[in-house]
Symmetry: C2
DNA sequence: CAGTGTGAAGGACTTCACAGCT
DNA sequence: AGCTGTGAAGTCCTTCACACTG
């Protein structure tokens, strides 16, 4: 049929790469799941630092981050031993360490394509968490939008992606267009050298292997929640439908990976 | 700053529930990961149906959905045997089957709290993918917003959640407030009987076990992408930093779970 | 002796590969 | 012959539990 086969979707997930096949160095890999949580730990550390804390135990940090302490320690062990036995972790130095590992010391330029409803909100989301993610380029196809400024940034036409993205040093692209336009935009971004894409459009993007796509799919999230509400996820619902299969895990989401917006 | 980065945790994740401890019936559980993909398959089937397709093979469907065919067949096998050997799946009946399993035949009322930047965009996202997810209640604390109508829905004050949510039969709540307000709002929703929450605020919500929370955390997503850009996820980057640990999986996200917005 | 770091055990998916319908 | 459905094997991640250190 017509639909292109899709590849990229969300949470990265490529089988390949046998773990630890680096040339000169035996770098122990950091699990994908861990990387997402490190970002959460970093945010929590920021809050603790504001509160004046100088050290935290794995137990405290884990509880605020919503994970169990063993997992947190295992996660941190992937980046090295920065804890003090019998005491905990030094808040400030752990923060720096996490920023370094996540690569936040070299801020990335972000391009946003699609400045409609959602895109506009994203563009206004200044600094994305306050940490080095300036949206440096905006694109759309709507003549009414091209040319206007949002937060001081001019909206360019999508056709100019090939010129503007490299010029602005864009390394991360966000797609907030209607589904039909997403693949085309994605292709343009990839051609412009973008290797990391955050996709808000309800489509599975096809991309070459070197490109990482993460998706934020509201419809899917709601449907998963609906599944649980329908009593298919757990027996908590009032009248459990006897015909419905149940999910293995139940309520109360804790860790996981997703994209925040507001 | 208006749009807060999100903390939400996202993909549900509770160890508990030993799989298959239902009283009268040995319902084989549907893995959480599968549920999220079923929603994607459903969307793809819709596109195929529009294109006039009557049947699809697991190979075709999988390719468009961005997963491998074995995984797709395993996923579908969790909901029963609706395929025809030697032929494939009947598009229409598989659609109905998926809708039934996901509980989309009983549309859920959704409440949205926080009608700022992002919240406003979400409220305007009419029908969320076109399928039964009417946003039936809006809340905020801003006096300038309380009382106005968005898409025909009046914005109520957050303090009225206890009254309005039950009245509107709300079963799913979406939180798009700044981080500081999120936990308070969450508590109100839970008190009002909401058992499923989609959190866009950059905070980890504390909820009782019966409540399922999924998060959409933009800051985390961008940081994960930044991690990969920094060459910590793969050796594809120009100058690979020898100090950086690498991630086990590399680029090109395939499956995963997230929320689409468009 | 409190609290980290970690081998070992345990789960939850994923992928393989093939038996079995149509 | 073609393609689904699925046991078995394999992988990635989580949880346990404990040795070890400050």
């Amino acid at each position: 049929m017509t639909l292109p086969p899709q590849a990229g979707s969300s949470t990265a997930d490529t089988p390949g790469t046998p773990t630890g096949s680096a040339p000169g160095r035996v770098v122990r890999a950091i699990p994908e799941a861990t990387v997402a949580r490190l970002a959460v730990y970093l945010r929590v550390l920021g809050q603790l630092a504001e509160g004046g804390a100088e050290t935290v135990s794995s137990e405290e940090l884990a509880s605020v981050a919503g994970v169990n302490s063993a997992k947190l320690r295992k996660d941190l062990s992937h980046i090295g031993s920065y804890g003090i036995r019998g005491v905990g972790y030094d808040v400030a130095s752990l923060q720096h360490e996490l920023e370094r590992v996540l690569g936040l010391d070299h801020p990335q330029a972000v391009a946003l394509v699609g400045v409609g409803n959602l895109g506009h909100a994203l563009a206004g989301y200044g600094g994305f968490g306050g940490r080095g993610f300036p949206v440096t380029a905006l694109f759309d196809v709507d003549p009414d939008l091209v040319g206007i400024k949002i937060n001081g940034i001019v909206v360019h036409h999508v056709r100019d992606i090939p010129r503007e993205c490299p010029a602005a040093g864009v390394t991360i692209g966000m797609i907030a267009t209607p589904a039909q336009a997403a693949q085309g935009v994605c292709d343009k971004l990839v051609a412009a050298g973008v290797r990391s894409i955050l996709n808000f459009a309800p489509t599975v993007l096809q991309v070459p292997d070197e490109v990482e796509v993460r998706k934020v799919d509201l419809a899917v999230e709601l449907q998963v929640l609906a599944f649980h509400v329908a009593g298919r996820g757990n027996a908590a619902a009032a009248g459990v439908d006897p015909d419905a299969p149940a999910v293995s895990r139940v309520v109360n989401g804790r860790n996981g990976s997703a994209v925040p917006l507001s």
